[in-house]
């Protein structure tokens, strides 16, 4: 019986490839919160985020044999999620032309907040929804998920200079939008 809580990623991947599908639950539990936060911040909508995240875990399971460095399962599946969020965001943009932020995505965990705090969360959701997707992606990876630029290259396929430019643009645009929302 594998101790999923203490087993490393490589061991859990190995168990799954050896036929123990249940070991995959350990990887889901380990990464769901971090990946879920990224999906919610990127898509601004809890339902879309959970759908993208579930799809990511299923795709990763199906492709697990192609995870060439199982010890870095986290980085590998992050790349899959980044692509899923891009696809879902693009499909939704075509469908709706505009992103409809779900205020609950930011405020759900905020029961008991003051009115000011709630308004601040709404302002952030509003501003994030107005960033260009590539800028939002770079901003969230850098500042929310705390990835290095080298790690960002790995999950996005973009170059370091391009990513730095997007982060800088996103910061200035977000500053402008939040200042506007504050007026």
């Amino acid at each position: 019986m594998v101790d999923v809580e203490h087993a490393g990623d490589a061991e859990l991947v190995q168990r799954v490839l050896d036929g123990d599908a249940g070991a995959y639950a350990g990887l889901v539990t380990r990464y769901r919160d971090r990946l879920g936060r990224y999906a919610v911040r990127m898509l601004g909508n809890q339902a879309d985020a959970e759908e993208a995240l579930q799809d990511t875990f299923v795709r990763a399971y199906r492709s697990l044999g192609r995870c060439t460095d199982p010890a870095r399962f986290g980085a590998w599946i992050f790349g899959i999620l980044v692509n899923r969020c891009r696809t879902v965001g693009a499909q939704r943009a075509r469908r709706e032309r505009t992103v409809i932020p779900d205020e609950g995505a930011l405020s759900r965990a905020a029961v008991g907040d003051t009115a000011d705090r709630h308004a601040w969360r709404e302002a952030i959701a509003w501003a994030m929804a107005r960033l260009a997707p590539a800028q939002r992606e770079a901003f969230v990876l850098k500042h929310v998920e705390d990835l290095s630029y080298e790690e960002m290259v790995e999950v996005t396929g973009a170059s370091v200079p391009a990513l730095k430019m997007r982060v800088a643009r996103a910061r200035e645009e977000l500053r402008r939008l939040l200042t506007e929302a504050d007026r």
Binding site: Y24, R32, G65, Q135, S159, R169
Partner: protein
Amino acid sequence: MRQQRNDPIERAIDTLREPVELRPDFERRVMAAVASLPVPRRAGPLRLVAAWMVTARTVRLSPLGGLAAAAVVLTALLGGRALLGPGAESAPLGAPLAADGRAVQFVVAVPTASTVALVGDFNDWNAEATPMRPVPGDGIWTVLVPLGPGRYRYSFLVNGTEWLTDPTAPRTMEDDFGRPNSVVTVGGT
């Protein structure tokens, strides 16, 4: 522990880093979905090669390689300009020159600005790294930047919020999804 700061960006980051709450049955739904799938198989060498061949990847091609030796961009201005090379050595602002003696003087006319910063590939698009200096009286802002040979994208950031391309330099749309940047090319010796 991160401190709440007055900067709205830092405050936003603090908020965005808070955990999100997924539905309690999330794991169960994922595991139910994978239960109907065949057990994944380890990819052998042939499958890995096949996967590599069909995976989309970014390939960066620069048309400048063969032109680098000759590429010296000298943009003359009236709204703005990037002046390159030995002529910049006598520029009045005294910024250090690159080891090979090359520097680019960036100049832009923005009479109404209270601050202008130069941001680009050479300073990691850091809005605080290269502030431009006003030339008293005529709304001209300038800065001298040492640059090695290469191609650099850049923009001016006016009053911390407004992005302005250099009206006299070539523009590129690459990598910024619809927002243009200017381009300066510094040739090799």
